[in-house]
């Protein structure tokens, strides 16, 4: 069985909890996940930060490299798939070298800070062109079930649909200090691009500042 070698960008030992840890590690470190995937590298803001993350999250893993520079990660032949879970406006710079090097990218939503950068990342995909974006909400069974009900004709043809939602953040008036970028459209990560487009997450605050990965 071929093992896909995985690098994670943004598994931070600093944050109280980490989205990458809560979302990705459960499967990757499970018996089932280990049949097909092995974590071989972490990229953080420095090799020291990566080393701390290895000690915190992967103490029983062997052969995990610590990188502080996206070009060094891109040059590592023992990485096939690169998972990125950092503040949205850092995605582009952190992932472009690996994408150009032909590694398969798995980037959390939003893909980039704006459509222009998202398109550039898409265009940078090499010939094999595989890519993954963290829009995993599609695979929640409730939604798959609605799709199945419609497909089987349970309600006949769809005439219309209404969605009414309150969320994006916990509170209508406040934000935690860690989410200061939520008030600036240019950063690209805010209650609309994240909460409306995809999800609200209790751990969004842990994706944190641009430098803290």
């Amino acid at each position: 069985m071929t093992i896909t070698r995985v690098a994670i960008i943004g598994l931070s030992a600093n944050a109280k909890t980490s989205w990458a840890a809560a979302g990705h590690l459960p499967y990757l470190l499970s018996t089932r996940g280990r049949q097909h995937f092995k974590i071989t590298a972490l990229l953080n803001s420095s090799t020291e930060a990566a080393q701390k993350a290895i000690e915190k999250y992967l103490p029983n893993e062997t052969g995990v490299k610590a990188y502080g520079n996206p070009d060094d990660l891109a040059a590592d032949p023992e990485v096939d798939l690169v998972v990125t879970s950092t503040r949205v406006d850092t995605h582009y710079d952190l992932t472009l070298p690996s994408i150009k090097a032909g590694k398969v990218p798995y980037i959390e939503w939003p893909l980039a800070q704006d459509a222009k950068h998202a398109e550039e990342l898409q265009n940078a995909l090499t010939r094999q062109r595989k890519s993954i974006v963290g829009l995993q909400g599609r695979y929640v069974p409730l939604f798959e079930k609605i799709e199945a009900l419609v497909a089987e004709g349970k309600i006949g043809k769809v005439l219309s649909s209404e969605l009414r939602a309150f969320g994006g953040t916990f509170d209508r008036e406040t934000l935690t200090n860690k989410l200061d970028y939520f008030t600036d459209k240019r950063i690209g990560g805010n209650p609309i691009t994240i909460g409306f487009a995809h999800c609200k997450s209790t751990s969004i605050s842990t994706i944190g500042s641009a430098n803290n990965h």
């Binding site: 998202a118 898409q122 995993q136 909400g137 695979y139 497909a151 969605l163």
Partner: protein, 176 residues
């Protein structure tokens, strides 16, 4: 949330949107909950959009999709998420008390998932469960992300950069 709607019903086009910044001064709080500063925001906290579903075998031409999204809590005691898909013979309704995202880390609270069949005028409860192996993981996020990895392994469709770029373009249009 909008991505999940489109994933189920198809792409929404001809989108007209209207946004508002209801609360222009956002209060930032520290871990203790104390307000440390107030910042003016340029990000809307109220969004309403309408559009039409693309022609498809499962929808009538020009089916309207309507979305209302307000940042923060709902009216006290009411649901955070209500989605209806209205059809010729009946309609589907999915609600969640606590969250708009049913694939995250938060407990959704009370969830109601029903079909109203017009012919019988009956309500039918619908269930949809994760697979046993996915229930090994605590959070819906971890279960859903596990699905992504397995779909990738099995060469099944996964959300791609092309789809993400298209969603980005839609959002820029919506937020204009």
């Amino acid at each position: 949330m909008f991505d999940q709607l489109q994933s189920v019903l198809g792409q929404v086009s001809d989108i007209q949107s209207i946004t508002q910044i209801q609360r222009p001064n956002v209060k930032f709080i520290d871990d203790a909950g104390t307000v440390t500063r107030t910042v003016a925001t340029n990000v809307p906290d109220l969004l309403h959009l309408s559009g039409r579903l693309a022609n498809s075998a499962t929808a009538v031409p020009d089916a309207i999709v309507s979305v209302y999204f307000r940042r923060g809590q709902p009216f006290k005691g009411q649901d955070s998420f209500t989605w209806t898909v209205n059809g010729e013979k009946g309609e589907i309704r999915l609600t969640a008390r606590n969250t708009t995202f049913l694939g995250g880390q938060q407990d959704p609270g009370e969830v109601h998932f029903q079909v109203h069949d017009y012919a019988t005028d009956e309500l039918e409860d619908i269930t949809a469960e994760w697979e046993d192996w996915q229930n090994e993981f605590d959070y819906a996020a971890a279960k859903a992300i596990a699905s992504v990895y397995e779909r990738y392994l099995n060469d099944e469709p996964v959300p791609t950069f092309a789809e993400a770029a298209a969603l980005h373009r839609q959002l820029e249009q919506i937020l204009q």
